[in-house]
Subunit: 154 residues, 2 copies
DNA sequence: GTTTAGACAGAAAATATTTCTAAAATAGCT
DNA sequence: AGCTATTTTAGAAATATTTTCTGTCTAAAC
């Protein structure tokens, strides 16, 4: 496990909220020199603590308004069936997340589409055509209460 | 709705995967001048299509190994109870996501913690102490099949 | 046919990143 | 504690990038 001091944690918090801050701005907030900030960031990148830097796109602005959580049961649970299903579901661009989970259902998917009609098409022509699918259960997001990518480091 | 041409969509795709590319690199990929790339990005930022730029932290590298999905029922569904619950759950740093959803349960939470012992403490001393909580049902992530922030624009 | 607005390219200016050198702080060892 | 090796840090200099500016081109409107 990579040891992080409180400066690293503060730095990661800043970068998780806004990665476009300059090293000078960060150096002020952290009371460090620009080079010290630079070296710390490079180290965190090298170690893989910082996975990558990305732009977040606002779903509503690109006409993706309907978020659905789909729970899925497979018909069988052989290794072959699982890997087949997983590789197929990964290909679906509407599926943002897919986790193999414990409990009554095997998988939990987060699906983002334009509207109900697109979700219907997604279900009919994509999800339910996957091999070895048993039953599915969909839950629609009524309201986004919290949605963050920020991991709190303690 | 903001009209996006195919160049905008390609640009957004690049930035959603890696926002640290220089405008020169992007200009090569898009066959544009640096200025054209610059202006397009500024427009997308102005319009709010690009929400923000962030660093993604690898959970395993910071010792957050257990991902749990919690479904929650409230005891009542008055406006007062909902907003109270929502403001309290938003405060919990272990809760990365919380959606008000349709179906048997009212809320779906994505919770990230170090291990089972930390999850137990989260349940006992945080989640189940929230006001108006009825029943909860937890599902543990066995395997991360897919987990992306990239929205596919068509 | 002229005008106007938007997108684009290239150059210049302003900023930021990255490298380099050396000093300070830290950790490990005797 | 005292010494040494290693890491972290700061400041300056070198690179690279972003941002601004100017002018051209194109397409749509009049």
């Amino acid at each position: 496990m990579i040891p992080l001091d409180s400066t690293d944690k503060a730095l990661l918090s800043y970068l998780q909220h806004n990665s476009k801050q300059t090293n000078k701005e960060l150096s002020n907030k952290l009371n460090l020199s620009v080079t010290a900030v630079y070296e710390r960031i490079k180290k965190l990148e090298r170690e893989g603590v910082i996975q990558k830097y990305i732009a977040l796109v606002e779903p509503e602005k690109v006409d993706l308004e309907l978020l659905v959580f789909c729970q899925i049961k497979l018909t069988q649970h052989s290794r072959e069936y699982l890997t087949k299903f997983e590789s197929e579901v990964t290909q679906l661009t509407e599926v943002l997340e897919c986790f193999h989970v414990s409990g009554e259902y095997d998988y939990l998917l987060k699906v983002l589409v334009k509207d109900m009609e697109h979700f219907r098409m997604f279900m009919v022509s994509k999800l339910t055509t996957l091999q070895h699918i048993g039953s599915t259960q969909s839950s629609f997001s009524i309201n986004k209460v919290k949605n963050t990518t920020v991991l709190t480091l303690s």
